[in-house]
């Protein structure tokens, strides 16, 4: 079965990729399986300078999900290009670079640099990290700011630009419309929902940063709803994510209106998650009587 998919100018072998922040820069997971298996690889967020992130603990488990507040720890865009990207060159799998920042200038600089790296085939603009005060969340909740930022970044990038939306908003449709109008080639949705867990023993938030981003199967219904809503008003490609753990979940996201999907938290429970999902996709298609990816596209939205 042909699983390949066109995604804002990229051609992917299949619609499944690891989600940013849950797969590092690929090296660790390459010990488990061949990264050529993947539809694409979304690497960890890059910022202008190195960031050391939030104090620990940075993760906590919740019912069918987890909280994280890594805080965009990364060695900075230059180091990423120099030290991390070369490893990924060997694979015949497009790399999508996640772009973060605290100011418009920082986003623009990071995007410009990454867009020039030959290994990078597309950018994912992270305007939705809830875990850093200056992590871009203001851009992710205000359509005006999102429009401007997308526009500026689009101007300096020669590669397809996916804007990653935050679910922590009253109106996801207006956010999607704003970035589409600003020239986004596609959308990634959803990032994490802001949550908190309290340690009854210490009487303090379990995550040192107090709040963290909620991900995993717990949030899947919210992701499906938001993708469905956005698909009804927009035709640009959507990379869907939020709680995917099985190939059947992938079908659900495609039916809701996603063109491809990203798998985050599931990699922690099962390091083979992406590979297993890809391997099982044909069987899931068969089980529910689908013969091609196109048959699923936006079925529910129309």
């Amino acid at each position: 079965m042909n699983l390949s998919v066109q995604l804002g100018g990229l051609t992917l072998k299949n619609p499944v990729m690891p989600a940013s922040g849950c797969f590092g820069f690929g090296q660790e997971f390459s010990q488990f399986y061949d990264l050529n298996t993947l539809g694409a690889i979304v690497i960890k967020a890059a910022t202008g300078e190195a960031r050391f992130g939030n104090p620990t603990p940075r993760v906590a488990e919740t019912s069918s999900g987890m909280l994280n507040a890594i805080g965009l720890q990364n060695p900075g865009v230059d180091q990423i290009i120099k030290q991390e990207l070369p490893f990924l060159e060997q694979f015949d799998t497009p790399v999508i670079a996640n772009v973060a920042g605290s100011s418009e200038e920082e986003y623009v600089i990071v995007a410009e640099k990454l867009s020039k790296a030959s290994t990078v085939k597309a950018l994912e603009l992270n305007i939705s990290c809830p875990n850093v005060k200056e992590g871009g969340i203001q851009f992710g909740t205000d359509p005006e700011l999102a429009y401007q930022l997308t526009n500026k970044v689009k101007n300096v990038s020669s590669k397809p630009l996916f804007v990653k939306l935050s679910p922590n908003v009253t109106n996801i449709v207006s956010m999607a419309k704003a970035v589409e109008e600003a020239g986004a080639d596609g959308l990634s949705m959803i990032n994490t929902l802001t949550g908190m867990k309290i340690d009854l023993k210490t009487r303090k938030p379990l995550i040192a940063n107090e709040t963290g981003g909620l991900s995993g199967p717990a949030i899947k219904p919210i992701a499906i709803r938001m993708i469905h809503q956005v698909r009804q008003v927009s035709n640009i490609p959507i990379i869907g994510m939020g709680g995917i753990t099985t190939s059947e979940d992938v079908l659900e996201f495609l039916l809701a209106g996603a063109d491809a999907v990203a798998v985050g938290t599931a990699n922690f429970q099962n390091p083979y998650a992406c590979k297993d999902i890809i391997d099982e996709l044909p069987r899931a298609f068969e089980k529910f009587g689908y013969n091609s990816l196109n048959e699923l596209k936006g079925v529910v939205s129309t």
Partner: protein
């Protein structure tokens, strides 16, 4: 590192809320040295998205078995405690870098453990013994009822037990015992709660030491940056799951 189903050979209560579980499987063949940990999947389905890191307390490549010792703390370890011999659990491992014992031969060594930090020291002492070191073990527990593996350690080496509440052995902290012994050692190895490790790091700052540290983990393999610790190196940090959990005492800032 591998993800494998391992068969539960036994699972028994050995102290208050504390269990010893013996697991069998090929994964054992890949253990390099004491101090590695395994990352255990909890329950069926997706209710528990995070695995639980537990140190390898002992292992035997000949019979393909490893032992873990864990304390029931929350939902995950509670689930573990309810698993029956004959069943299987899904394990990711062996993870991290254990205690590097190359060159540690015929020396005086002190190993210091606290609570659920004691387990990885058990196989460590075995291997230190096999390299002809003179080993002293100091093990701290909360209370008499929490003590486990006293006999096992005493069968291997000279062992001092301390309890926080004085209900057994020395009444006080492991650092008090170290102070009283006032011997000098070539090396120390320690694992236990952060507070204890800090105190030991401080007290034995002039001795070559190695500590095994804990942090809440996501991936367990170095990809998610959940488990970093400030360190005196180029990057300014280490990832406990990948670079550790064992570090040179001088390298990390607790």
């Amino acid at each position: 590192m591998f993800r494998k189903e391992m068969k539960i050979e036994s699972n028994r209560l050995i102290a208050l809320d504390t269990y010893e579980m013996v697991l069998e499987g090929d994964l054992v063949q890949y253990i390099k040295n004491p101090g590695h940990f395994i990352h255990i999947q909890i329950g069926e389905g997706t209710a528990h998205m995070l695995r639980r890191p537990i140190s390898i307390a002992d292992y035997d490549k000949q019979i393909n078995q490893l032992t873990i010792i864990y304390k029931v703390f929350g939902e995950g370890t509670d689930w573990l405690a309810r698993q029956l011999p004959g069943g299987q659990i899904n394990v990711l491992g062996p993870l991290g870098n254990g205690f590097d014992l190359s060159g540690i031969q015929g020396q005086t060594v002190i190993v210091i453990g606290g609570g659920v930090g004691v387990p990885p020291l058990y196989n460590l002492v075995k291997q230190l013994n096999s390299q002809f070191n003179d080993v002293t073990a100091i093990l701290g527990y909360q209370s008499k009822v929490s003590i486990f593996y006293e006999k096992e350690f005493k069968d291997l080496t000279q062992t001092y037990i301390a309890t926080d509440d004085g209900t057994y052995g020395y009444d006080g902290l492991v650092t008090d015992v170290i102070r009283e012994l006032r011997f000098s050692y070539d090396h120390y190895f320690s694992c236990g709660p952060t507070g204890m490790l800090k105190a030991v790091q401080h007290q034995l700052s002039d001795i070559d030491g190695y500590i095994s540290i804990e942090e809440r983990m996501g991936c367990g393999v170095g990809a998610c940056f959940a488990c970093v610790c400030q360190a005196d190196n180029d990057k300014g940090y280490v990832k406990i799951c990948q670079d550790g959990p064992v570090f040179h005492a001088k390298e990390v800032t607790l």
